[in-house]
């Protein structure tokens, strides 16, 4: 597969976003421009530490001279581009994308998507009583992960994180086609039978809770997951000498989840199985 190089040289590019002149580095995207201009833009499949795949289409903008809308996350800014982020066409497509997703996917834990649905007035009720959904059951195949594909929006982020954007394990890929496409191991074998090495990087990038740490899932099931109370402390992993930064999410003086900052030079937000899960020794029954 080929992606456009996103190289940043010294040269600047001037574009106009919603009438406002914006300067970005050569190679930066329209989304980068929107961000530096303070234009809030919804994204689902985009992440700072992954190559843009521009599949969700919720970040589309109107660019003068382009027949269709363009994905701001992957389109490099070009000198003189005139961009509209709030035209009728843009609002319409963003609303429809959100409606489409909401009409077939459980977005109850997609905390970043919900507010945008309100913002654009997405009305999932107009698709009738029972539009076809994912119709999946929760996969619990080990003590570390759960996979609930009823919540999957096919954003490809987990595939990228498992694959050549980070881990290079390629335990999961998109299988099937069209509406039947699913994130899957080969022949849907159980995760422990697959190439999975439990780095948790797929969970780290999942925007909807479709992929979840089993510990978080269990706490949610027990109605004991209270993210609003969490403190997050950045520290350094205790295993090998690479120096990966960990963010310890703590609830009730107990570590409940570990992530890594996407902008950290060592990890780019990705960890290994030890960093992701190896903290449990801090608080086993033998110590607490």
């Amino acid at each position: 597969m080929t992606v456009a190089d996103k190289t940043v040289s010294g040269t600047k590019v001037s574009i106009t976003i919603d009438g406002q002149p914006v300067e970005v580095d050569q190679g930066q995207t329209i989304l980068d421009g929107c961000r530096s201009a303070g234009v809030d833009t919804p994204t689902i499949c985009y992440a700072d530490n992954l190559t843009p795949v521009n599949v969700c289409r919720v970040c589309v903008v109107e660019v003068d001279g382009n027949r269709t809308l363009v994905p701001s996350c992957s389109r490099p800014a070009e000198e003189g581009m005139v961009v509209h982020t709030d035209s009728d066409r843009v609002r319409h497509s963003r609303k429809m994308v959100l409606e489409f997703l909401g009409s077939g996917v459980d977005l109850s834990q997609a905390t970043e998507i919900g507010p945008w649905m309100d913002h654009y007035g997405a009305d999932t009720a107009r698709y009738g009583e029972s539009p076809e959904g994912m119709n999946e059951t929760v996969k619990i195949q080990d003590d570390l992960y759960i996979r609930d594909y009823d919540k999957c929006v096919l954003c490809y982020k987990c595939v990228e994180a498992c694959g050549d954007d980070a881990q290079h394990t390629f335990a999961i890929a998109v299988a099937g086609r069209g509406f039947d496409a699913r994130i899957s191991t080969e022949f849907d074998v159980e995760l422990p039978e697959s190439a999975c090495v439990y780095c948790g990087n797929c969970i780290g990038v999942c925007p909807t809770g479709a992929l979840q740490f089993k510990s978080e899932f269990d706490m949610r099931e027990a109605a004991n997951w209270r993210p609003e109370e969490h403190t997050v402390t950045t520290t350094v992993c205790s295993y090998c000498g690479v120096g990966c930064n960990l963010e310890l999410h703590v609830q009730d003086d107990t570590i409940v989840k570990v992530t890594s900052p996407a902008d950290h030079s060592v990890t780019s937000g990705h960890l290994c199985v030890k960093g992701r899960f190896g903290w449990q020794y801090v608080q086993p029954p033998t110590r607490r």
Partner: protein, 545 residues
């Protein structure tokens, strides 16, 4: 060596280098996130050559895997050096300006012909030549290594043999080229930084250096013993001789991790006084006279650690320590108080500032800067210094930064001390698995779906010769003892070699088998080369028969 103390390069550099020699390192499993940087380099077109007795998961990413005989690394390095010289791929300006001893080195490696080295190393001559040419003609190149280089009785020879290659080609002291030993533990680098070495004070200042010592003595108001101390292996020897009778162990588990483990445990049991400070009741703690329950350094207390790219980063308290567990600083302070010295109640930052006043490498790293800049790489001598992505840039300066040229070292092939015999005909080497760590004290805390235990990997051909099947439980014996293990047939290791991890001492006391031979200069034990035999349980009657 032409300097000390740390990897020369930043992680980012391996993303932008042209040739990577991954030598005695299974970074894919032992340093997984560093390997992400290697992968970025490979995606950008770097060629990777992997030297390892096993075809490890790391080796599978390489353009070429060279299956070297355990412990023949010096021979291979010397042959590469010879080939680089013979093919005119040396960086002659660099050699003339920045190094000394080249002529001696050239004469020394003359015997390491490709053909002779093939016999010593088991690596085909053509492959040695190809790797030499790739490294010698690359614009930038890095050599990465881990314990496959250092857990040998001739560890220091191995390291300098690799350093020679960098000096021949100028692959050091500039962006993209360098020598990168990957640290196996999260703060082994930081421990060195802080002077937790028998012959060093903080900032790698020599304990025998009167001037350096005077600086510390002035601040501390106390005289410092000018004699270098003992490293771990020497300590056990001293215990054996009855010279060392009291030991204070902080955060180590030698009763599980030492080579020839039964002997080590006996020595620990024989001490007059053993104090253990740990977060767990480890097997070592169980032997102790006094145990200080400690807090978890990276989650229950504040401080710093230093990574393999010399990046000093903050660790922070996220949760409270349980029960009576105390911060290490507090425990040591209380101990001092009982000994009649009151150090007050310093914070982590207070101690850090003291270090900065004594160690020029760290002087510019204020607590604030460490917070704001996501860590800093030493040397960072002043507050306006940005930190150092790579070391030894002075080699490329006109005046060599006021230092002397870097010396070539002449070292020879020196096979493992424990030779294979008819009685013990298999080579055993050890290493880490991805989801586990050392003796499993920490990594045992979670249920890894990919954990398989300490099995003995054996080539199917060897197994067939012994009439052993995959998964069969067998008796594994070395000159020091025997353990029962399960066999895993593994085509990725050559005939004659076996491999195991050492993460589950409560299940398999792997270190019953390993030798306690070590390098007297580094103190590292030869974990990588024991000799063993494998017997069917039915034939031997079993361990407890």
């Amino acid at each position: 060596m032409f300097g000390a103390g740390g990897g020369t390069s930043s992680y980012k550099e391996v993303e932008e280098t042209d040739v990577i020699l991954l030598w005695g390192s299974n970074a894919r499993e032992a340093h997984p996130i560093y390997f992400h940087h290697v992968l970025k380099g490979l995606e950008k077109g770097a060629k990777m050559y992997c030297v390892d007795p096993r075809r490890t998961s790391s080796a599978k990413f390489a353009d070429m895997w060279l299956g070297i005989n355990v412990g023949s690394d010096v021979a291979l390095a010397n042959a590469i050096g010879r080939e680089i010289i013979a093919s005119g791929l040396t960086n002659d300006d660099f050699i003339a300006h920045s190094t000394e001893g080249f002529e001696d080195y050239k004469a020394h490696v003359e015997n390491y012909t490709l053909e002779a080295t093939e016999l010593l190393t088991g690596v085909p001559a053509s492959a040695i030549k190809e790797m030499a040419h790739a490294y010698g003609s690359a614009e930038t190149a890095q050599i990465l290594w881990t314990l496959g280089i250092t857990e040998h009785h001739n560890a220091v020879d191995n390291v300098v043999a690799l350093c020679n290659l960098a000096l021949l080609t100028g692959h050091v002291g500039r962006w993209g080229s360098g020598l990168v030993p990957l640290r196996g533990q999260n703060n082994v680098q930081g421990g060195g930084d802080m002077g937790a070495l028998p012959n060093k004070l903080a900032g790698f200042q020599d304990v025998v250096d009167d001037e350096a010592r005077a600086k510390f003595e002035a601040l501390w108001g106390h005289e410092i013993n000018p004699t270098p101390g003992l490293h771990l292996t020497h300590m056990f020897e001293a215990m054996d001789r009855g010279e060392l009778t009291a030991v204070y162990v902080i955060g180590e588990n030698p009763a599980d991790s030492e080579a020839d483990i039964e002997h080590a445990r006996k020595l620990l049991r024989g001490l007059d006084c053993l104090v253990v400070q740990d977060i767990f009741m480890t097997r070592t703690a169980e032997l102790a006279d006094v145990v200080f329950p400690a807090s978890v350094a990276w989650a229950e207390s504040d401080g710093t650690v230093t990574s393999s790219e010399r990046r000093v980063q903050r660790v922070r308290k996220a949760v409270n320590a349980p029960g009576e567990a105390k911060d290490d600083i507090e425990i040591i302070g209380e101990l001092a108080r009982r000994m009649g010295v009151d150090w007050g109640n310093p914070t982590s930052e207070d101690l850090w500032d003291e270090l900065r006043s004594l160690s020029p490498l760290h002087a510019g790293m204020s607590w604030r800067r460490l917070e704001d800049e996501g860590g800093l790489q030493w040397p960072c001598p002043s507050m306006d210094h940005p930190g150092s992505p790579f070391l030894h840039g002075w080699l490329w300066e006109d005046d060599l930064g006021g230092r002397g040229p870097a010396p070539f070292s002449c070292v020879d092939d020196d096979p493992p001390i424990e030779q294979l015999t008819d009685e013990f005909p298999l080579r055993l080497t050890t290493g880490r698995a991805l989801d586990s760590y050392n003796t499993g004290v920490q990594s045992g805390g979670f249920n890894s779906p990919i954990r398989y235990g300490d099995e003995l990997d054996l080539n199917p051909t060897d197994a067939a010769g012994l009439g052993i099947e995959n998964g069969e439980r067998v008796l594994v014996s070395s000159p020091r003892g025997s353990v029962e293990m399960n066999i895993r047939l593994q085509p990725d290791i050559p005939v004659g070699l076996s491999f195991t991890t050492f993460h589950f001492p409560e299940l398999v006391d792997t270190n019953v088998l390993t030798t306690d031979q070590y390098d007297p200069r580094s103190g590292t034990a030869e974990f990588k080369a024991a000799s063993i035999r494998v017997d069917k349980l039915a034939a031997s009657g079993g361990l407890n028969a």
